[in-house]
């Protein structure tokens, strides 16, 4: 065809939008950055301050309490292996990032999920946004994170929060909407206010589903903080990244296995926590 259809400069628009945000809100981003960084340091130092064997003992005890002997044994072997491989410090760094990213994600996701549960209009607005957040390739979030927060762990957390938040929102909404209608009716019939209904009926009854969402968020956060090594987030991810650059498959797999051990421990722990609540 002869017509020369101009290419839509979608990328340019997004860039100028991001530029605008970075320059106009630099004060805000810098404050967030400082706050997050000191949070990371605090938690990291705390976990590092504990001797390895003490932390292992704590985790094993926790596994025993919430799940049973099998998980406790698995935790013991897994963590001992990580220690033995000399990956203890990166593991702690990764754990720190996961914990902080998950906390931030939950703090944002809970109110949004509740809102989407009670307001149909908000539900219709937020669902496509969540689809967008989840299907966009995770690496893409890394790029704008750098102008916002610079290279390092804070950017990693930013990208991780965006990537891992959707399931927490979805499961919160789902959990609240799943509360049987007759229980809502009972709460209404006795004259509950909206917040009484939420706190005394809807939230407690959606807790198992909600915990499922948190479990998902933790898993996604773990996978993302590993990827975030590309923009300078510390931890097991940067071990993998270094192994790639030096073409050392052995070291890469060692760090990878450490990630798998962490993932399994975190998953089983959070699952038994939510399951424990349900059977009560």
């Amino acid at each position: 065809m002869d017509f020369d259809i101009p290419r839509i400069p979608l990328g340019d628009w997004i860039e100028s939008g991001l530029d605008f945000l970075t320059t106009e809100f630099s004060g805000v981003t810098r404050a967030i950055s400082r706050g997050t960084q000191s949070g990371i340091n605090l938690l990291n130092d705390g976990l590092m301050w504990l001797p390895e064997w003490a932390l292992i003992a704590l985790v094993v005890l926790l596994c025993w309490k919430v799940s049973g002997r099998r998980l406790a044994l698995g935790g013991l072997i897994g963590l001992a292996l990580i220690w033995n491989l000399g990956l203890w410090n990166p593991m702690i760094q990764t754990l720190t990032l996961v914990v902080i990213a998950t906390l931030v994600a939950i703090v944002i996701a809970l109110p949004l999920g509740i809102l989407a549960a009670v307001s149909d209009r908000f539900y219709r607005v937020i669902m496509p946004i969540l689809d967008f957040m989840q299907t966009m390739p995770a690496f893409v979030y890394l790029i704008p994170a750098i102008p916002f927060f610079g290279i390092g762990s804070v950017s990693g957390i930013f990208a991780t929060v965006i990537f891992s938040m959707p399931p927490a929102i979805r499961f919160t909404t789902l959990g609240i909407r799943q509360v049987p209608k007759d229980l809502i009716e009972a709460a209404d019939a006795y004259g509950s206010t909206r917040s009484q209904k939420l706190i005394k009926v809807q939230l407690p009854l959606s807790l198992p589903t909600l915990m499922g969402g948190i479990n998902q968020t933790i898993m996604l956060a773990l996978s993302m903080v590993v990827i975030a090594a590309m923009i300078g987030a510390n931890g097991l991810g940067s071990e993998v990244w270094r192994a790639i650059q030096r073409l050392r498959p052995g070291e890469g797999f060692e760090a990878g296995i450490a990630v798998v051990i962490m993932a399994m421990l975190l998953d089983r722990l959070t699952q038994s926590l939510s399951g424990g609540k349900k059977t009560k």
């Binding site: 007759d182 009716e185 006795y190 206010t193 009854l205």
Partner: protein, 400 residues
Amino acid sequence: MTDTQQTKIQVRNLSKVFGDDAKKALKLRDEGLNRAQILEKTGQTLGLSNINFDVREGELLVIMGLSGSGKSTLIRCLNRLIEPTEGDIIIGGENIPQLSDKALLHCRRRHFSMVFQNFALFPHRTVQMNAEYGLEIRGIDKAERAEKAKSSLKQVGLEGWEHAYPNQLSGGMQQRVGLARALANDSSVLLMDEAFSALDPLIRRDMQQELIELQHRMKKTTIFITHDLDEALNIGDRIILLRDGEIVQIGTPEEVLTQPADDYVARFTEGVDRSRVVTARRVMRPVRATARHDDGPRTVLRKMSENALDSIYVVDRERRLLGIVEADGVDEAAKAGKDSIHELLITDFPRIGPDEPLATLYPMFHGKSYPVAVIDDQQRLLGVVVKGAVLEQLAQTGEQ
């Protein structure tokens, strides 16, 4: 139930349309179209149409209808779990459909407690905490609500189960918790939505009996929804029959049974065991003659021969029944020249209250052949029931 009772709730011109063009549907209704025609023309469902009734203080009012008759909608309009389209519901001087959200909360807390068909207990709360719910959201302090919940649990026979969770209880017990939750709240009206329908028949019968007793004791105004006529007749002081969102008949169980408003009601009442519903008052006959306790034997004999009686009831000045005398005895006394019938009085004779059902009455005919005296709670003689009248009433069941 007498008409002098105070009115608790007035429902006037209540209608409910399901759909987004209620006005049009109501206009068509006013033009005389029925529910099906309105649905066809506008796609709107006329859930309730022009409902008018009063709920009296302290009564147990049953609203009865088949599924789709609008009974669940009606009970939910009362506390606005469903918004009525038009009409007034007046309780304690407030018109419920016009209340603001805040006033409505207040009104629900003060006036209405609800018991649900599928119990609707909170599974994450113990029995005790379920019973406390209504009080808790009203901000009643811990000690007081614990005490109230405990006493209402005791009333429904769940003492000792306070710390169990609902899923550890049987259906009947769960509904007792539902009832306790409603009673603890101490609201002025109890709404029961098919409360016993999910229970198996034996437990259901027990629960009905307990509700009657409880209601009698507490005089709590109760509105009970059911699709089961037997249940309605068994527990209701009055019954409202609903069909297609309209009231077909309002009356006592007996009126519904003996004077059905139309064929629909009559068909409904077919196959109902009349002996449990028809009362002594209905089948009793006036007493043709009675003797006064200060009558002499000769006066009594004359009264008996005038009315061709073998025996006669003896009453005092206030028409209180003292006993019965037989012709033979009185005759002998007269011949012996006695001037009183007092020592001839037979006090061992069958008697019954006016609201007792025929089922209670029937076995009384097995012994002596006296008729059964119907007396009120002051012992005054209201009438007698003879065997023939009972049989006649029971026979009507067979004919239908």
